[in-house]
Subunit: 574 residues, 2 copies
Amino acid sequence: MGERIVIVGGVAAGPKTACRAKRLMPDAEITIVDQDSLISYGGCGIPYYVSGDVADEDELRKTSFHMTRNEDFFLRAKGVKVRTLTRALAINRKNKVLEVENVISGAKDTIPYDKLVITTGSQPFVLPIPGAELPGVYTISDLHKAIAIKKQLASGQIGRAVIIGGGAIGLEMAEAFADLWGAETSVIEFMPQLLPRIIDPWFSTMLEKHMESMGVKIYTGEGASEIIADENGKACKVVTPNRTIDTDIVIMATGVRPRSQLAAEAGLLVSQFGIVVNDRLQTSDPNIYAAGDCIEVTHMVSGQKFMAPLGSLANREGRIVGDNLAGIPSTYPGAMGSFIMKAFERCIGATGLSLESARAAGFDADAAITAPSDRAHFFPTEAKIPLQMVFDRRTRRVLGVQGFGPMNDAVLARIDAAAALIAKNGTIDDFSLCEMAYAPPFATALDALNAAANVADNMQMNRQRNVSIPTFMAWMEDMSCQPDWRALDIRHPNEVGAFVAKYDDKWLPLVYSDIRAQYSKLPKDKTLIIICDAGTRSYEIQIFLDSVGLGNTLVLGGGFNVITRLEPQWWPNK
Amino acid sequence: MGERIVIVGGVAAGPKTACRAKRLMPDAEITIVDQDSLISYGGCGIPYYVSGDVADEDELRKTSFHMTRNEDFFLRAKGVKVRTLTRALAINRKNKVLEVENVISGAKDTIPYDKLVITTGSQPFVLPIPGAELPGVYTISDLHKAIAIKKQLASGQIGRAVIIGGGAIGLEMAEAFADLWGAETSVIEFMPQLLPRIIDPWFSTMLEKHMESMGVKIYTGEGASEIIADENGKACKVVTPNRTIDTDIVIMATGVRPRSQLAAEAGLLVSQFGIVVNDRLQTSDPNIYAAGDCIEVTHMVSGQKFMAPLGSLANREGRIVGDNLAGIPSTYPGAMGSFIMKAFERCIGATGLSLESARAAGFDADAAITAPSDRAHFFPTEAKIPLQMVFDRRTRRVLGVQGFGPMNDAVLARIDAAAALIAKNGTIDDFSLCEMAYAPPFATALDALNAAANVADNMQMNRQRNVSIPTFMAWMEDMSCQPDWRALDIRHPNEVGAFVAKYDDKWLPLVYSDIRAQYSKLPKDKTLIIICDAGTRSYEIQIFLDSVGLGNTLVLGGGFNVITRLEPQWWPNK
């Protein structure tokens, strides 16, 4: 008889561990226990099931070859035993048994193990506010809740929705309600921006503006303080310090916490980020492994511990546990939180550290912002994809990349390539030379990612000096507060007119190709903010003006391709 | 006065060198000479200009901000002098002058230099066959020829086209003729496959079948032996050993050769692959640099010298020469030929070495073939993207990746990430763990590229044993030639029926999930080829059968997702 492996938790990391271990050790006796009746589903697909993109919840439980991943499937196809509706009560490490109880009958039982794997995942964090537990308030934590939400949508009960939490799940749910079902949808985010920490504010604002243009109301910097019930006891209003919003449903998407209680109670080492594991994903008991949302992960860039509740990581980690159970010494290098999400007709993605996170982690970090074309500018489907590259000024190491673009795989390509290089401690030079595949329908000769690296190079070598986007935005808002600044707008006269009309002599138009001939017209006693479409020409002009003694200039990185995405009213043709 | 820099060649590497150098050294005196009247155009865009995707040839000469890159633009905007219609005759290295002649007037002149840069590009190779020089035979080498071709198309003179050469340019031109203009288009390729050397035959055949399904006639393994003229002396027939094809135009797309004559005549070191340079792109004369199609490049994977005539590389190389001219010691690590192309509704891409090239370069190379989903299988736009990962069995280093998929950026994302990792000597393990961004609209939880690496891992660890695709195809063609083989088809009975009907008892259907219960039915004295959709389940079954003593099995890597793309008649629903 083979080794007895017991796995607690059957959604992502658990089944992956089980199947990999069984393939490596065909005679192992593997049992998965899960307190739910539904296992091994694509939890990340819930927003698309709710929206209707995925017709049936069963599709989230099916393999790519159309078999439903239920107990019978695991037993027959994989040789893995699954006990659903079975709650793990305690780990008896001395006797190496797992104590369990049937959640329906209450019957208790013990399961002996040689090796135990904890893949208990995460649980949604519920804001401790009045009304949080009312009927009509849902977390997006399991398929049952998703089924209940969709039933209400399908029967026309939801005309209005409030999402508490502007992270990825909250925003995906907002799209699900607003897009196909036409619900009047509001998102409330306590932090001053959407996607806090993983995306810097000037990027998340581009997403916010797009979602608003699609009809979603977004209130950032505003926490929900209470949920109020109607006469039937069902949630009907969400209260913030600034407003009260009527609603038919409330989605609580305020993050998750590791489900690490079972491990902690068994005396295993647990931190605020989850179960502590070594790089072979062993807990402090060498006979017990852990993987998925419930473990503490090392950030590959900062070296800091964090929680990384991503389905993609759960699968990688499960495979590594499977290897180690079978004696293959695979190690887990940690994670960097590669991330991408769809929002209506746009997508946003990131990998590594944001500028804010990088500085918080102690790096001498700066950010190169560009707005390059995703493919040849003469190709019909070309679009701009604002990119940001966060780098360390001391070492030239690239710490993170963010991108925003149309809803296709153009941003994905740059994020994936960046993740690959960052994992290998890639520097600005590695990114500058990275040989992205080129043909006009797919990229530019110097790819967008190479271009971002070249901007970072120019900044790190102190050839390019920037004004920050928030500073420039504040200045556009109130021109008088920065009396010594002037905008030097080098774009085509057609693009510049509206700004000159509004800002008068504070906005100096001088076409890019005329500057070498006419720079003597420019004021010497003002700070000139050089403005173009993408920031590239502004840098050229900065260098030229430096060479003729006009050194008091700053480049607006990303140029108006970024500004118009932050302040759509600035789009001149609108 | 600043340094005098003279650059010979004004298409891609030359202008890039000039502009970068001028930015780094604003007081440098930079002159570009080019024998053509048109400079700095996007040569890779020619097929899209011919097709009509790009309306006007001027668009290929414009910047992203709509200025035409002509002599006036370079002088006014960049501070770089351009002398068009000026042919470089000789380099007088002793006196450091370039001897030139005006191609219209014949007037001769000399241009003194402190540093010279040779960016003379490549010239099309013209097959030495009778009729190759006839009117109506075009190479795709400059914008003038493209304009002439499009004029004929637009005036309805081209109903039939023959392309000699099945490389990327030939195939892009074939699409241009066939798609928008509806010309009856034939491609002749001397080698037995399209895209020889850069793509392995089972991948290029997928492309070939798709192009055929769009109406392009493709003849591989068939060289053009003669081009015949009509009574007006214009090319009207292309002759091969097997056929004579009537045509209104002939495109000669049989590769390019480095334009290194100027360098060679000046006594600089030149190889068959181009001008020899060091890693700072200096020629054998330290005052002379070279970049672009005309230089010999080191392959980053094989270490071998080769020619890499790609616009993307020309731009990278130009930037490095610019740096070095300005005293910044940037180095060029070489290239790996990252490549992608559109063909109607599909795309194909590659980076690094093909299996054939890897073996030729002395690696103990093998290839993992998969056919994973590009995004969550439950997401509506999901498609399969066959991927191949070439790896070294000895070191686990990944040597190359190829992909084929629908016409979007899904293949691009995997090729770009692969290129990034291969450049850093990435191993199978790096690829397995590479943290590709995940959300259901963009990827699968374990990304397609991770999945390919996991197959490579299983193969390298000798857990997975494959039958090669050519072997299996030959066997399907003539079942009798391999009497001891049986197909064990574990797909859904709906998918299997047609094969059982055709192959009778040679084709054994047994559903994946029934194998653990029913394996005893399987013959023990035959080689079983295990067949599923993507190869993944077949591997699982192989492992299981090994464990029960049925060790004589082989997996069909990539499964029927690959086979149906190679032999469309096998698509069961067709």
